[in-house]
C-alpha cells in the first residue's frame, strides 16, 4: 500500500524553528545565523561586533567541543552561551531553543542575538534555527571560487561577509567575483567587506543589522 506524505524531511526542525522565531520576536531580538568554514573568522567577527553593540548583543556559540568561543565573547563584554554538539556538524532548532532559554534565564535586554554555527558550509544549510537572516562568511585566506561550490548555503543567505580584508595586498582573492557569484544564486544578498583585525567595515555591518532589526520589528 502506498501512503502519500509530501512532508519536508526537516519538518520537525521547521516547527521548532517557528517556535524559536516567535520567542525571539516577543523579546524584540533580531537573530542572525552566522555560517562559514572553520577558521574563516566567525568568532573574531563577533568579537569585533561586540565592540560596536556592547551589551545590546548576546551570542549563542556552536562548536563541536570546548567553550573557548563563549569565553572569548564574554571577554568582550557580551553575554554568551555555548552549545557543544559533541560531534554533530550543525546546529538545529531544538539545540538553539534550549540554549536561548538558558540565555534568557540569565536575564538581560538585548537587541541582537548572534548564533555562531559549527564551522561548515554544507550541513547548516538544511536547518532553520528561527533566525531572521543567515549570514554567510568567506575570508581572503580561502578561495574566491567557493560560492558556486557550496550553492546550498550561498543561495540561502541574506548577507555575505567577506572577512580578513586587511590581507588584500597579499592575496589573489577577487572579492568582486565572490560577490557576483553569490548574487547569481541570490539576487537580494547584501554584501559586506570587513576586517575584524583593523575594524574596517564593522560599523557599517552593525548599522545594517540594526536597520534590518527595525524593519523586522515593523512587520
Amino acid at each position: 500500500m502506498k501512503i502519500g506524505l509530501q512532508s519536508p524531511v526537516t519538518g520537525r526542525n521547521d516547527r521548532e524553528a517557528a517556535r524559536n522565531r516567535a520567542a525571539f520576536r516577543r523579546r524584540g531580538l533580531f537573530v542572525f545565523n552566522l555560517i562559514g568554514s572553520p577558521g574563516t573568522g566567525k568568532t573574531s567577527l563577533l568579537e569585533a561586533m561586540a565592540g560596536e553593540f556592547g551589551d545590546a548583543m548576546a551570542v549563542i556559540e556552536g562548536d563541536v567541543q570546548t567553550r573557548r568561543d563563549a569565553d572569548r565573547i564574554e571577554g568582550k563584554g557580551c553575554r554568551a552561551v555555548q552549545i557543544e554538539t559533541h560531534g554533530a556538524c550543525h546546529l538545529d532548532a531544538s539545540m538553539v531553543g534550549r540554549a536561548a532559554e538558558g540565555l534568557f534565564a540569565l536575564g538581560g535586554e538585548w537587541k541582537v542575538l548572534a548564533v555562531e554555527n559549527v564551522g561548515n558550509l554544507i550541513c547548516p544549510s538544511s536547518y532553520d534555527l528561527g533566525e531572521n537572516v543567515k549570514i554567510g562568511m568567506l575570508s581572503l585566506a580561502e578561495g574566491d571560487d567557493k560560492v558556486l561550490k557550496y550553492p546550498s548555503i550561498f543561495s540561502r543567505i541574506g548577507m555575505l561577509v567577506t572577512s580578513k580584508i586587511d590581507l588584500l595586498p597579499h592575496m589573489d582573492f577577487d572579492i568582486d567575483r565572490a560577490e557576483s557569484e553569490c548574487r547569481s544564486l541570490n539576487p537580494g544578498v547584501s554584501c559586506f567587506r570587513v576586517s575584524a583585525r583593523t575594524g574596517e567595515g564593522i560599523p557599517g555591518l552593525c548599522s545594517h543589522i540594526l536597520s534590518e532589526r527595525e524593519k523586522a520589528l515593523r512587520v
Partner: protein, 122 residues
C-alpha cells in the same frame, strides 16, 4: 554528515504514520540540487538505521530533479543541476531560483499483510 540526522527524522516521521508491525518496502524522496543533501549518504544512513529499528530493508528511491531558474536578463526559464553555467540563451548569470532547495518525503510503500488501509498520525 547531517544525512544521519535527516535519516533519523525520516524514520520518526515514517514510524508516526505506519506504527509498528508493518513492513516498510519503499520510501520515495525528492532531493533538489540546492538542498545540501547527498542522496548516497542519506541512502546509506537510512538503510542502516531502518534495519537497526526493525523496519526491514526498505528501498530508498531518490528523485533528483533539476532546479528551476529564470534569467533576469532575457526572461528565459531553464533548469540546471549545477550552477556554474549561465543562461543557455544569453549567458547571463543573473537569475532567480524558483525551485531546487527541497528535500521532501513524498510517499512510502508498506506491506500491510492484506489489512485495510489505515493511516495514523499526521
Amino acid at each position: 554528515m547531517h544525512e544521519l540526522s535527516l535519516a533519523e527524522e525520516m524514520l520518526v516521521m515514517i514510524s508516526d504514520v505506519i506504527g509498528s508491525g508493518r513492513r516498510l518496502e519503499r520510501v520515495n524522496l525528492v532531493i533538489g540540487p540546492l538542498s545540501g543533501v547527498s542522496a548516497d549518504s542519506l541512502r546509506f544512513c537510512f538503510t542502516e538505521l531502518a534495519a537497526m529499528r526493525g523496519l526491514g530493508s526498505p528501498d530508498l528511491v531518490v528523485e533528483e530533479p533539476p532546479a528551476s531558474l529564470r534569467c533576469r536578463s532575457c526572461g528565459l526559464s531553464y533548469e540546471v543541476h549545477e550552477f556554474v553555467e549561465g543562461c543557455p540563451a544569453c549567458g547571463s548569470m543573473e537569475r532567480d531560483i524558483l525551485s531546487g532547495m527541497e528535500c521532501m518525503l513524498e510517499s512510502i510503500e508498506v506491506d500491510d499483510g492484506g489489512r485495510p488501509a489505515e493511516r495514523s498520525g499526521s
